[in-house]
Symmetry: C2
Subunit: 117 residues, 2 copies
DNA sequence: CGGTATCCACTAAGATACTG
DNA sequence: CAGTATCTTAGTGGATACCG
């Protein structure tokens, strides 16, 4: 996801690299609003995601220190995902972006329809 | 870049869709710091980008109302790119994300090295 | 329940060559 | 100078089937 020319040019570049996956924003948002979630619950909160993608994105977020994965060795198995402190900070940092997009939602949607047509 | 399940689930989702291209953050950053730039100047400010990708990302940003493209019909041709008001707003909204990433840069870089290895 | 593994389609991205 | 056109490759994402 980076440009490969060594370290990042700016913080935004690095930030986009962390949160830039197709489903990551949605995962972050779900964990922020619902708190700790099991795998199955999380899947329901992110409609349309496949198990493969959900796992993949969760593993990347975990590697980046954004989400915490807690395994309970029970029958049936239970795994819970939650935001770390760093993840909560990331969510706060994304707040203004969300607000901006909400403010300009009509234009964003209009542009999107145009390139579909 | 969206999940295709209709409108966006949240603003962050929509925002990521606008700024989520591989080079868009860098383009935004360059235009914000340098002001109006010609195509060639912009290319030098975004090291490693191909002309094809630069054009493509610029066209998408233009369609989203983020950058303004001004063509001067001269010889040799001159085209200048600048941020719109909406684009400047987007840049401000990305500020906290950049700050967050800068704050956690070491962990981000560490995670990145780990999955290279 | 919470994953893995495999295969396949699609798109994003890069290299190169050419044009108004 | 500022693109366009074409081809090729790498990576992303989805469907399906199976496992502890």
């Amino acid at each position: 996801m980076s440009n490969g020319t060594g370290p990042y040019v700016c913080g935004i570049d690095a930030g986009m690299d962390v949160v830039g996956g197709k489903w990551k924003a949605l995962i972050l948002w779900a964990l922020d609003h619902e708190g700790t979630l099991r795998f199955g619950q999380l899947k329901r909160q992110v409609p349309g995601v496949s198990e493969k993608m959900l796992i993949q994105q969760l593993r990347e977020l975990e590697a980046d220190g954004i989400v915490h994965r807690e395994v309970y060795r029970e029958v049936p198995p239970r795994v819970e995902y939650s935001l770390t402190e760093m993840g909560e900070g990331l969510n706060e940092a994304l707040g203004p972006l969300g607000a901006w997009a909400t403010r300009h939602m009509d234009q964003i949607l209009a542009a999107k329809h145009r390139d579909v047509a």
